[in-house]
Symmetry: C2
Subunit: 422 residues, 2 copies
Amino acid sequence: MGERSARAGDQMALRRHNLSMVLRHLRDHGPRSRARLAAETGLNKATVSSLVAELTTRGLVRSGAVERGAIGRPGQIVELAGTAACAVGAEVNVDHVAVSVVDVRGEPVVERGVPLDASAVPAGEVLDHLTRELAGVLDEITAAGASCVGVTVGVAGLVDSRTGAVESAPNLGWSDVPVAQLLAERLGRPSYPVRVDNEASLAAIAEARSAGPDTPVTDLVVVVGGVGVGGGIVSHGQLLRGHQGFAGEIGHIRVDPNGRQCGCGRIGCWETVVGLRALLAAAADPDDQVHDPRLGIDERLAELDRRARLGDARTISALHEVGRGLGAGAAVLVDVLNPAAIVLGGYYATVAPWMLPAMEAELAAGAIAPRAGGCRVQVSRLGLGAVTRGAALVSLDAVFDDPTRIATAVPTRTVEPTGGVS
Amino acid sequence: MGERSARAGDQMALRRHNLSMVLRHLRDHGPRSRARLAAETGLNKATVSSLVAELTTRGLVRSGAVERGAIGRPGQIVELAGTAACAVGAEVNVDHVAVSVVDVRGEPVVERGVPLDASAVPAGEVLDHLTRELAGVLDEITAAGASCVGVTVGVAGLVDSRTGAVESAPNLGWSDVPVAQLLAERLGRPSYPVRVDNEASLAAIAEARSAGPDTPVTDLVVVVGGVGVGGGIVSHGQLLRGHQGFAGEIGHIRVDPNGRQCGCGRIGCWETVVGLRALLAAAADPDDQVHDPRLGIDERLAELDRRARLGDARTISALHEVGRGLGAGAAVLVDVLNPAAIVLGGYYATVAPWMLPAMEAELAAGAIAPRAGGCRVQVSRLGLGAVTRGAALVSLDAVFDDPTRIATAVPTRTVEPTGGVS
């Protein structure tokens, strides 16, 4: 490469860096004028205007209202636009597959899911189901004139997030399945990245990024309840992945050496006490509708909630027992990690009110630090949608890393919100 | 403050910063010439020469051999000197107090300890014992013409490291003891800082900083075995303290809801299975010499090791059982944290060979990730001395943060290594 083209390369890299900086600044600090962007980023005003112009032609930002109360000449506000790019998140779990799409602002535009007894069919067939769901939303994105910037899939199991292979997912019955590769083939080898990660890690990313003002985001553990129980750990504000990316496998902590056998073959794993099957088995006989795999989890949980509200003793006792088990396991997490919060995600989010008193009492009694080391138990606002939301947000990072991924053509239609996750 | 004195203040701060940078560079990268220091730190050669001259008059560095094989004019090597400053670490544990002194290079110059049944006497009396040990080494430091830059004490319990208060130490019977304050009073309110921290956190710092080339230092858990069992967690290369500084309280993880009662009042804590008392109770009758609190831990462990070597079935079986218990608890740590290594410290370091096979088998079977997620079990090289070493290294940081703490007077004598930790 000659000196001139090397310099041109440097300038393109600098331009990309500045586009990325402005876009991130708008995401992290909200809409603001060009003058304020210049003051806060240290770039000069002419550069900011040029960068905003380019981001506008790429459909990533748009001009909004006139800024009030600013010093100097009032300027038009610049804000993230939701139209040009979409990012896709998906989830493969034991009893359902789900898909979520977010726009550039991270706002969900599509969320949907279908019940699927994923452990009863081969991995390839599960991925075929997922591909059909994905193809549907990808068509919608394209029809709206937007680009897909990436697909990320959360799987309930041990995932090598670098290769996108699932090493082991006991509840799915998967072992060494190259999910990212198989999915990319089914999607026609797209130009955007197809990634796979552990579902609870993705849920933790979603919880930390969409935390309310009362949620601490630097040290928390998200407990994702399903048939299996996964954990996502945020420590010092960073996802704690561990040596091989397998941190947070809290569902298989042995809480009782004389307990029940787990799907993984071990005895007394935490998920044998607090997993969805343990709750359903305690709450209802095998022929009861809450065991029907054709119903979505949310319908089955809504039925349990209804029964508890009516005062059904068996239901209430089952929920209480799972709460006690949650507290006992949470005490282990508090002893090891001393988090500021444990966030109850997945199925717990729906029925948490019935579990919290027993859980909190057991946690306070079980943890060695007084008052559980200051750990609060919080209920996820995202619930069952946290995994796909986190997955979509991870996909979206690609745009913020390099806004030039999006072509300079302004789309004309918007993707409207549809459906709901089941 | 006028403009001139503000500027003088800025210049002093800059000078301190540069002195600190050069001193750290020598610590982290080893002895090197002034020319190389200049090239590697980005400071100009005249500045480096002036900084080295000042560090020399403060007794923190000295000139060594002439550098070989360097480009340009050969220069004399500059290296850390061990004479001007010493840092003190101490430990209060259930059955002993110990003190360690390191020089500026972090090399131990004094290590000693005395057996003490700390749970049998009031906290004030334990601190009196510790103060006598500290006064002895502080006299030696002064006599050698060196300055003490700080005292840090590790305590086996829940410590608020910001205030230096021990909130709770069940095995010592302590509750809300302001150790840093009480100790500073006993030491005559010295000008150097007196700090208190959790013993296992300090052990983790020592293990991570004195790791050999085969020890991963970014993700490890140090398990410190004594009467209690503490944990120090290093994640992403940083000590994981958690929300209130109570992370790593692994001794009280409940491993068996039907197990033995712990000193903390709970049932089935890990230390009831793998703590020193569990080992000793399984290995020998109550009137056996290995239970004699007047003997140092190392003597009692040496006796167990001797019996195991002679093939004593009861001793070997007791060590094996503790190994199995270690593996079961280590599996929990691997599931949650996926560390690259678990380092066996404290009493385990002495008898680890008798425990490792059972521990590793139980860990591999218990952890959900294949091959324990790549986690290796390693035996601490520092053993029972890790806590005081880590404490001394934390004290030493003060010199590297601000080398001007050490007065510009060159001492004439050196502190010679003495004694051994008991």
